[in-house]
């Protein structure tokens, strides 16, 4: 007690502080409300900015859980980082938005903590493709948002919008296209199959896959840029340097709204529908908060809010949402989408990757 006297702190003050401390401990809810936080990984750039601005503050207001958003690179790179970190018992983000292919890849090493459907209010209203399950039926990921990759073009260079993916093969478009550089994120095999081979079922066999590669190789002379980095293509599309290609419907719509001469078209064969899941790293101990977060994100009003503010397609059934037809058309389409063959990218990923690299490099 000598030291206390020296510092000039009276015994009364010490007692008062002690009482306050006991009081805090007795009311854990107060403590927890201050501590509760969740690190959420979302794709860096536009996505993260929109979520930070429009979605996360609302969530914190509603639940008292602070969100620290983490910018993640394209899914595959983030998967490697999460996996390496989880091996060391670390979680750079508790929850991450993960593409379907990477969700499946993470499942192979049981990287994702199984989620409890009972704690997600609108679980039954989720569209079927937006629930990722382990082989034994446990839920690995819940649909966060869906998006479309469509045929985009520069309106100055192409006054008429192209109406079919076949435009990519048109000899008139020589050296004018920008396409995604990886087999597992461009989904061009599916596009080829749907456009020329009657549907993605044609990719069931190796023979069909080789045929699709052969047809796709015809597109090569038209391709100016195989891009890994979205910014690279977006700039070139806006300036008309590379006036056509495949790109994200939501971002293109925003660029058009900002006055850039670009448009996104749902071709008659359908846009490529891809989506992101919320997945929970096994190294994270924020299981409780993660469920609250996913429950919140799966509410119809939040899904509608994301469609309006972020431009993503909802993961809930259409009739549960209050989107007008116009709002729905802005983020999605009634045309039957091209759904990627995610199964191929896990079961035959190395073979497909090898063939693909040989095709575009060779």
């Amino acid at each position: 007690m000598k030291e206390l006297h020296k510092t000039g702190v009276s015994r009364r003050k010490v007692l008062a502080a002690g009482m306050a401390g006991v009081g805090m401990l007795a009311m854990p809810s107060i403590l927890r409300a201050q501590d509760r936080s969740l690190k959420v990984g979302v794709y860096g750039g536009y996505f993260k900015d929109s979520f930070d601005e429009n979605i996360f503050p609302e969530f914190t207001k509603a639940t008292g859980i602070a969100v620290e958003s983490v910018a993640e690179p394209t899914g595959e790179a983030w998967l490697v980082q999460l996996e390496q970190a989880a091996r060391a018992g670390q979680a750079p983000a508790d929850l991450s938005m993960m593409s379907q292919t990477t969700t499946l890849k993470g499942q192979e090493t049981e990287l994702w903590t199984p989620l409890d459907p009972a704690r997600i209010g609108n679980y039954d209203d989720l569209l079927e493709p937006f629930i990722a399950k382990y082989p034994d039926g446990l839920v690995a990921g819940i649909g966060a948002v869906a998006w479309y990759i469509t045929l985009v073009s520069n309106t100055d260079v192409y006054p008429e919008a192209p109406d079919s993916w076949a435009a990519l093969w048109d000899p008139a478009n020589e050296d004018k296209l920008g396409l995604l550089a990886l087999v597992s994120n461009s989904f061009l095999l599916e596009v080829t199959a749907k456009t020329f081979m009657g549907g993605t079922d044609a990719l069931d066999t190796e023979e069909g896959q080789l045929k699709a590669f052969e047809k796709l190789a015809e597109v090569k002379p038209n391709v100016r840029l195989w891009y890994r980095d979205e910014a690279q293509f977006e700039q070139a599309l806006k300036s008309g340097e590379i006036p056509m290609g495949q790109y994200y419907h939501d971002v293109t719509g925003l660029a058009a709204a900002d006055g850039f001469p670009v448009r996104s078209t749902f071709p008659k064969e359908g846009g490529i529908q891809d989506s992101g899941n919320w997945v929970l790293s096994r190294a994270s101990d924020k299981v409780e908060e993660a469920h609250i977060f996913i429950d919140y994100m799966s509410r119809p009003e939040i899904q509608s809010l994301m469609s309006r503010k972020v431009g993503t397609a909802p993961t809930l059934k259409r009739d549960k949402l209050d989107l007008t037809d116009k709002e729905f058309a802005a983020v999605s389409s009634e045309i039957d989408p091209i759904v990627p063959r995610y199964d191929l990218y896990t079961s035959k990923s190395d073979w497909l990757n090898q063939k693909w690299t040989e095709m575009i490099v060779g």
Partner: protein, 285 residues
């Protein structure tokens, strides 16, 4: 001052620090990479510790051989061009006043602060049809309409030379600055022209420096993976691009490690060969 050969263990202690650094930052990571290159790939997942040679087997194909050949050729070209530009430049620089030298060196150092990404995007704008340098030529009446100068081999080469040039100059600078000026003066008094003096005296006198610089730029250029992607077509992608694809996008660490080990061995062999040839020539000369 005579150097005594080390006799006791204590005499070796100054070596301990560099040795530890070398072990921590080179031996351990490189050994890990070699180990991983023999691990078994789990398709769609990660890898499990094992001893398989499949990863090397997959690499030994005409396709990867072609990519490796291109990468080596590109790195050699970058090295030769860089030295060919930097050597006369640095020589002339050392002949200028101290103030001019300092300004140049500061400018060169500031170029080093640019990342590969910035260099890549800057050149892709400069080479573009819509905003690039050809627009200036059109304005000057030298061209009828603007052209895109990328993607292409020339663009990749330009970007990589631009990136490596400051290093080349900074490596050559100390050797050239210390060069005895009386050598050239002697040649001049014997009637050699400045150009002849440069080629016959300066270049041979600094042959070891030039070889060392070539090797450094070669190794530096071999690791480039961003510029070929931004400025080139897929056929201009180096092996480093494919290694990145495997490691980052396919999460195939064992195969990426095998390719990287192969690349290191090939470049070490080339460096060794260069030194061997250089050394032999010196012995016969």
């Amino acid at each position: 001052m005579r150097r005594e050969p080390p006799r006791t263990i204590a005499d070796y202690t100054p070596l301990a620090f560099p040795a530890i650094m070398l072990i921590i930052f080179f031996v351990v990571p490189f050994s890990t990479m070699i180990a991983v290159s023999f691990f078994r790939r789990q398709q769609g997942g990660f890898y499990t510790p094992d001893f398989v040679i499949d990863n090397y087997g997959r690499f030994l194909s005409a396709f990867f051989g072609g990519v490796l050949g291109f990468s080596l050729m590109l790195a050699i070209m970058v090295a030769v061009i860089c030295v060919a530009i930097a050597f006369p430049f640095t020589y002339l620089l050392t002949k200028t006043s101290r103030r001019v030298q300092i300004v140049w060196l500061v400018c060169l150092l500031s170029v080093l602060s640019l990342s590969e990404v910035i260099i890549g995007f800057a050149w892709s704008t400069l080479f573009s049809r819509t905003a690039g340098i050809t627009n200036l030529l059109v304005a000057a009446g030298l061209m009828s309409e603007p052209q895109a100068l990328l993607p292409g081999f020339g663009a990749v080469l330009t970007g990589m030379v631009y990136q490596a040039l400051p290093y080349t100059i900074l490596v050559l600078y100390p050797a050239l600055v210390r060069l005895d000026p009386t050598l050239l003066e002697a040649a001049r008094t014997l009637g050699a022209s400045p150009l002849r003096g440069f080629i016959n005296i300066i270049v041979p006198a600094l042959r070891n420096t030039i070889v060392a610089t070539l090797i450094m730029v070669f190794v530096f250029a071999l690791g480039s993976y961003l510029l070929p992607q931004i400025l080139g077509r897929p056929r201009h992608w180096t092996l480093s691009v494919l290694i990145t694809d495997q490691a980052i996008y396919q999460s195939n660490m064992p195969f990426a490690a095998a390719m990287a080990v192969f690349l290191v061995l090939i470049s070490l062999a080339l460096v060794g060969l260069t030194l061997l040839v250089g050394g032999r020539r010196e012995a016969t000369a």
